[in-house]
Symmetry: C2
Subunit: 203 residues, 2 copies
DNA sequence: ACAAAGTTGTAGACACTGACTACATGCGCG
DNA sequence: CGCGCATGTAGTCAGTGTCTACAACTTTGT
């Protein structure tokens, strides 16, 4: 929680708060302006369009996602790449579960302007973080024959799918299941095998 | 391609066509009415709200998804549950790639009214189809200790994540990768192991 | 057969949205 | 000081979803 100094930052913060409190549905330029105590046209002084404003929110989301993964992998042995990869999974879904609104926004190309350079930079950084983890894992024998970026893409997709479907409650009604961590454990079991060191979530 | 007999069916068909041609962005009640050659209020005579109309479109999407998976698994040996499961993966992403607009809509709870009974029924049927495949696979030794619905949820999530991120082009820029089938092959490799019978896509 | 009732489509209105414009205010800097 | 420029305001425009009144047509009961 950092204090909003400029109006620009306050707008991004207001949007973030709205997303996590009210969800992604009613978000809009005028609503953000209202909550920030500004006139309906004020945001356009700082962002040329609503999409750019939301792209800035999403970029901050990617930074938070990066940090969440960083925190998760810091709890396990630095010399165990497989454990770090498994921990990263929990960091990913933990961010999604903790900031569902922002997470939902980050992958909504119809809402946030994905052409925004900040969006691309932060998104790429988050993915790059995972690729590094994958490279380390490959170095200790985890599917060393596969292209790192592709392997990372598949692992990302798994966590992304789990988080997405969980938030959309598309699985819950039929599975009667809300424990996201349990599903991540299963996913890790499938991907990494039944190692006891990675079958439990960290910290 | 079946001929639209009632106005109601024509509206659903018009929305479908729009989604696959123009994407999900500009869809709306008035736009659908325009394309169907009706006045802007006509759709509300058949659907109480835009969300219900789109829910009907999504429900038809779930039926098509079901059919796509059915086609995919029909190409492999009926007595090989693992091969059928792997084939189902291709059926899933093939539908998503072939009908990106409808696929995107199906999991957008802010757009289509997920409380619609038809939506819930068809969505549940599609998931049930996967659960059956998983049960068969468990019977031949594929993680028999896990809860079928949870295991199915994880597998669904993986395919869902791959399709979602692929369509959002969120992975493409960093991975430089557009071959969805290749990613599915990797995902199957991770989940099912390196059996040559499932490492290639069917048909 | 004929009128009543229901169904279906139209047209207008309302509140709302994102974006654009003209205008006012206030700040920094030569 | 005074000129720019950045910032915020208010009004406007085209567009949206939804509601309502109304017209036309179809079905139904007697």
């Amino acid at each position: 929680m950092r204090v909003a100094v400029s109006t620009r930052d306050r707008l991004v913060d207001t949007a973030r708060t709205y997303l996590d409190e009210e969800g992604i549905d009613g978000i809009g330029l005028r609503e953000i302006a209202r909550r920030a105590g500004l006139s309906h046209g004020a945001p356009l002084r700082h962002f040329s369009t609503l999409g750019r404003l939301l792209a800035a929110v999403a970029a901050e989301g990617f930074r938070d996602l990066y940090a969440s993964v960083e925190v998760a992998i810091s709890t396990v042995d630095r010399a165990d790449p497989m454990a770090r990869l498994a921990a990263a999974s929990f960091g990913y879904v933990r961010f999604a579960a903790g900031s569902p609104g922002v997470f939902g926004l980050m992958f909504r190309s119809d809402l946030c302007d994905t052409g925004d350079p900040e969006y691309a930079t932060e998104g790429g950084a988050a993915f790059g973080q995972l690729v590094e983890l994958v490279v380390d894992a490959q170095a200790v024998g985890f599917h060393p024959d596969l292209v790192s970026a592709e392997l990372a893409g598949v692992l990302w997709s798994t966590m992304h799918g789990l988080a997405s479907l969980h938030l959309h409650a598309a699985l819950a009604p039929t599975t009667g299941q809300t424990d996201l961590d349990a599903l991540v454990r299963i996913a890790n079991l499938l991907a990494f095998g039944a190692s006891p060191t990675i079958s439990k979530e960290p910290s």
